[in-house]
Symmetry: C2
Subunit: 229 residues, 2 copies
């Protein structure tokens, strides 16, 4: 799905605002190298498709994130895929002025945003490289709980924006393996899932105890770790 099929209408800063439907894709390799994409709302993946049906989601992007074409790995099939209906603004780096603000009224600090994303990327490398399947699953759930969850009486609750396939491609597992891991977590009572795409973390502290990266995830997100009992 080429980027020009995207619904575009003029935006404020000489950029283009794109309204993406779920699953819609922006092919990065046909964007200009100095193009920046500001995620205004929604949730997207940065993903690469390799020969032989292989796909790797290198990063999940949330509102407030900024990704440049130049910062994406230069593989042929690299792109952004909307996991939820999302609003993305595309601007040229040169057009980004220092007094520019996001939709949320916060001033854009490009260097800080870029560094934050790089740190997330590094953390993800660690997760994929050195965590067991179970730890990876806990890491993913904790990440989503932090970025998407709202506290409810029954625990942190959120809509899971990624399909099982997407989650597997993110954590570098295969979908069957991931499904097994989810089932086990559900069986343990730590997480409940009212529907396929909704999760309820019943015991956040226990989930945090399952991954060595809990503290780092909190630090990146600007929250503190739940005290273990």
């Amino acid at each position: 799905m080429p980027a020009d099929e995207v619904v575009g209408r003029p935006a404020l800063n000489g950029g283009v605002r794109l309204a993406l439907r779920r699953r819609q894709r922006i092919a990065l390799h046909q964007a200009a190298p100095d193009h920046l994409f500001l995620i205004e709302s929604g949730c997207l993946t940065l993903d690469a498709v390799l020969p032989q049906e292989r796909r790797q989601v290198t990063m999940i992007l949330y509102a407030g994130d900024i990704i440049s074409r130049a910062a994406a790995p230069p593989v042929g099939q690299i792109g952004l895929t909307a996991m939820l209906p999302s609003m993305v603004q595309r601007v040229r780096a040169a057009d980004l002025t220092l007094d520019m603000h996001t939709a949320a009224r916060a001033p854009i600090d490009l260097a800080a945003t870029t560094a934050r994303l790089a740190a997330r990327s590094g953390l993800h490398t660690i997760a994929i490289g050195r965590l067991t399947g179970e730890e990876r699953m806990a890491t993913l759930l904790l990440e989503m709980a932090l970025y998407l969850g709202r506290p409810t009486p029954g625990g942190q609750s959120f809509e899971i924006p990624l399909s099982r396939n997407d989650m597997a491609d993110y954590m570098a597992l295969n979908p069957d393996t991931l499904s097994r891991l989810v089932s086990r977590l559900r069986a343990s009572g730590l997480v409940s899932m009212p529907s396929r795409s909704r999760a309820n973390i019943r015991d956040l502290a226990a989930l945090e105890a399952m991954t060595p990266l809990a503290k780092a995830l909190h630090e990146l997100h600007g929250t503190s770790v739940t005290q273990p009992v």
Copy 2:
């Protein structure tokens, strides 16, 4: 080994120039968040140590690279380890002026350098996440050949700066597995190794054919792919 044990002497830009011996480490978690490290010469790894003896090298840094503390994943034991005697300059982000030049006299473009590093990081995520052990090994050798190799009559030749353990921690394999993979490559005649730490790529095109990321590696490095025969 704390950072202050490092041999430091005043540098040009209000920063500190550090001369690192092989294996010497800069503990990033005790650097200021706005510290930048410019690699002037040598070769370092950005690595994280996890509980249970686990270690992940998230990135190999070469001369010309710049890494900021803020862009490193915020895990406790994160740091830079010199693989070769290296010269690193530490400056505060605020002190980096636009007209600053590296030792090689090239002007520093922080945004471009940062983007390049992010792209490398993403590519590494793909390698770790979706390549087989054999493909990973080919990817690593190609990367090193590009960054460190010099053409000789017998093929691209270079000194391998990482130990087997380091390479394994970079490619998210275990050292035994990696050793087996190296042995196989050697047996195939594709690579020869006059000593443990020196490699000779006898057939670069064949090596490139072994990894789906050959083109991307070349693109990042600014070279073109060897034509297949």
